[in-house]
Assembly symmetry: D2
Homo-oligomer: 341 residues x 4
């Protein structure tokens, strides 16, 4: 952390800052510029937030953090890509995993049909929501445990691992009993109690970026899970909130190469929630392959116009079949690109 002093700082003020740095356990380092004095605080960075209080001392203009606040999630801590294994399925490490299924589990029939569609398409993992985070208390809130049971059943019938969202710390054990992967939704990305709780799970966690979460904050949320002992985390970019309303959210596709540089964790994209309309899911999935993501999570429904939730963004079965064909062609092209000199 670096402390920038004001233009006409006095020696007394400089002394106060250096003394204060020492008093909180760091080592001061002075740097005299033409116009300004900078004072570095050298030491372990975990206390940085504490150091920010330097902004209060007389003569201080601003405090500039230098180091990244996450450790376990960083490439520096672990250079090689983390690969998550679930059943016969691997996420990360060069493949491209398609997770598909309905937004909500609505009935055994609908779930079974969705499962067969996902399987037939060639998707590797099955999704389905049993606990639904809905903006309105009057909207369908999910089938809860009965939904979990159906999801597990369809997963077993089709031979696919399953993923579903958990929204409440008290439900973590229940969801863990039925699901192969625990999903933390965008609205819970900074629900720290929940992050700590899944940090103790033995199951992998699919952590969605929030609508207003910076990439650094997403990695800090991953750090919560990692620091509790669970290092099986899949990051998911699902669109951020911006001023643009033509799409439901704005897919931050650049987050993929940025995250690939900063962290060893696999990164997938959720084009369904990002775009909010099925017609944009195919082009955005192609972009996900080309930009180097490790997979996508998409919504599919046998009859989207009858879906209990997220109908407009759910793919019809034939759209999912085409999506898988397009992914295959592009994945091959990406391998060819990987082999370029």
């Amino acid at each position: 952390m670096i402390i920038l002093m004001k233009k006409n700082v006095t020696q007394t003020q400089i002394d106060q800052v250096t003394e204060w740095i020492t008093s909180v356990g760091y080592k001061p380092h002075l740097s005299q510029g033409v116009e300004r004095t900078l004072i570095g605080a050298i030491g372990d960075d975990r206390g940085k937030i504490h150091l920010k209080a330097a902004a209060f001392l007389p003569g201080v203009e601003k405090v500039v953090p230098i180091l990244k606040p996450y450790k376990l999630a960083s490439r520096e801590f672990k250079e090689s890509d983390t690969v998550i294994e679930v059943g016969h399925c691997r996420i990360g490490g060069g493949g491209f995993t398609v997770i598909a299924g309905p937004c909500s589990i609505e009935s055994e029939e609908q779930m079974m049909e969705s499962g067969y569609v996902a399987k037939k398409a060639g998707a590797q993992i099955l999704r389905g929501g049993a606990f639904k985070p809905r903006t309105s208390p009057y909207s369908f809130q999910g089938m809860e445990e009965e939904g979990l049971r159906l999801l597990k059943k369809v997963g077993e019938k089709t031979g696919m691992p399953v993923v579903t969202e958990v929204m409440n710390t008290v439900d973590v054990d229940l969801v863990e009993a039925y699901s192969d992967i625990l999903q933390i939704g965008a609205r819970n990305v900074q629900n720290f109690a929940l992050l700590k709780k899944v940090g103790h799970s033995k199951k992998p966690v699919l952590l969605k970026r929030g609508l207003m979460t910076t990439i650094e904050e997403l990695l800090m949320s991953a750090e919560y899970i990692l620091s509790e002992g669970n290092d099986q985390i899949i990051l998911c970019e699902r669109g951020i909130r911006t001023f643009e309303t033509a799409t439901r959210n704005t897919l931050d596709i650049s987050a993929v190469p940025v995250l690939k540089e900063l962290t060893h964790l696999p990164v997938i994209i959720d084009p369904s929630h990002a775009a909010g309309h099925a017609k944009y899911v195919l082009p955005l999935t192609r972009a996900a392959v080309a930009v180097g993501a490790d997979g996508v999570i998409v919504e599919v429904h046998p009859e989207p116009e009858k879906a209990f939730s997220d109908g407009p963004q759910s793919l019809r079965p034939e759209q999912l079949y085409r999506l898988m064909d397009e992914v295959a062609v592009l994945k091959k092209a990406m391998e060819e690109i990987g082999g370029l000199p």
Copy 2:
């Protein structure tokens, strides 16, 4: 909800849409314009999300929602201002309530000192954090139950009601046992499990707007609490996330008159978190009085440079004294304005 048909729509497509509207329980109403056909879906609006799936039908260009999605929170449902009574203190209904205290409860001494400062200043309610939502798992996470105990003790000594944040459904009963008001933090504004849980509490809820939450979504979160039976809710604008970085967040001061129009619930402002620096808290508090807010919640610390969290935005005691003086002058001016013809 209104369905806008595409330019060259066919009669068959129009018939399909009207049949579908009927099939999902609404009454279609056709409106033929010069260029376009509009079809209204008449009926109770609670099924609106379901209706959105119309976007899928052939010939449909877009679906336009018409009614507000919240009911109990609306001015139409309840015209008169809701007033929250806590001890001798009233929030809403024309007064201006100042809630003050440290960001985190750090020790008995610090909490006691902060309490006396708040009392001496004339603040009506005491705040203090026992469970802290920190971006970093390595930052101070709060004193938890011991902190709650201290907060209650200081509240009793100073004769002030207290408010503190609850972050996890499993802690609601515990926090309720110690605190007069339950605070839901910005990051939990769409933690629906938590909203439902505090909806069953007998204690008032201070609901903070999230960094990414629209005013409509904030009211939907209030609706969650209201629909579970708790109608004692204080809304709090605390800054939204924008591209501007000169302040920690951007205080959306216009949210006050907008909310005053849409809802009967009291609305306060948190200038400390919005601005992120103590030096802006006084002018923003003045703006809060002038714009018609029902109060503010501010951070104060006997020695901000030693605070465990949010040091830079915590007021020094003498700044709080001055803030209360400024509030008094402006409050009197606002009464004079209220009396203008």
Copy 3:
């Protein structure tokens, strides 16, 4: 345009609104719902902004626009893709055009070297800035006419058409004399005087989306140029401003399929300005091909560390060569995808 009346509207208020609609030249159409009355204003939509004043009439809750405000730019006006021809080069209509060159024209040697690099790589069009829109008045402002002369010269030597930015109405004729395409920069996307002026040019216009321009506003800016008679417009998505700071701006990749649906104009991407760092330009260019863009515009510099502007986001020559190889592989894959059943 639809006017939503308040809940307890009176017949007199309804009559006032319908009379007012008639008085401003539209035809009212009443639609009585269970809870609310809607009144449509039927007629040509060009007067919509005028109609918005209805928000003032007693009993009106809100005014909802229905039709798109642009005409000439819309797919409805012209269904087939517009293809821009410049020299032997075509933009739009299925190809993928790479425009490359330095951010600023700095010297004859630098421009010549950049031109040869672009040519050798296989880029189709040469870019280079002679008038530079710099945030700081103290930064390099461009070589102006001397730069234009150099750009034209290098374009002729390498046999490539050239594009450069024009920032001021008084410079349009000058820039037109030297450049094959006139670029309107992001900061001038709503400089309406400039849009009108280039609307009279015979040269194609490369119109960049602004940092805070919605897709609809971008199309309205294109409409300005179209309505003056120039229908040769290339739209360019170059990143929007959001809260995320890991990249210089946030590339709104979804804008490509959205624009492809709404307009007949070709759409390219500027990954250099969007990302702000050369290391992200390759993956984002791959995403541009896969999402269906008509091309990219990228910055290349023989020695980025010596560039007068935008050094960090300029590709080195060998990076541009690789980019072109990757584009070729993905373009072939996209053709294969186009041929899928």
Copy 4:
């Protein structure tokens, strides 16, 4: 500027960076931390953008700017408040100036009536648009020179100085001939050619912040005008673009105390454009007084429902009269606050 080196940097890489710093005219200063090496580049900061290219050198993790990029606009350059004098009117220096008038000049009658309303209310300066920046080419574009003539005439009749927008460099001389203050609109805040041109004017400039402009960028735009020799600049916060749609834009009220700290230039607020609806203009004007702004610019129209532009946000005459009464009461309260110990 500070250069942060990567974790496992080599001595050779450090040497390369220090040599490069010297080669571009700065003095390197090494600071060895526990984990990282920092290298400062000491010297005049005007070349900072050039220095950013250091991001390219091997071993460099990131480049952190330290100094503010503006000079003439800064409080450090000029400590005392700049006061703009126009006729008998002063902007800045402790007063609160109300600028009022219609969005567009529509006819002699409408302008005359608006002028008398503004005068009767007690507003100090008259506004009115002759060149209108409209999103749509089909909307009313203003009366141009005829409008300027009317504005000047009404200004003279009522004895009020006038302000109007100039959008094009070629119109600056014309507008200067008629108007006492030249307004640069939000969309032209980074129209650098226009900024330079008004920088040569003898008339004061009212510079509006753009929808997408950071506070620092606004000051850089002021710096463009200042560096050309015109130091009579009034800054205007008029709402920034965010995800919230309840208001037209989000008024960044905190920008007032932030700007007051950073610059000596007066700062006013435009609540009409920020909120987009007349009903919010009064509370936001009160907030403007209380937060310490130097004034407001508001839209007033004798019959808002007939306005050619911005009808919904225009005050009716009686609303303006009330606004002035409220301003008077609050201004007195602010003086009382200024006198607090």
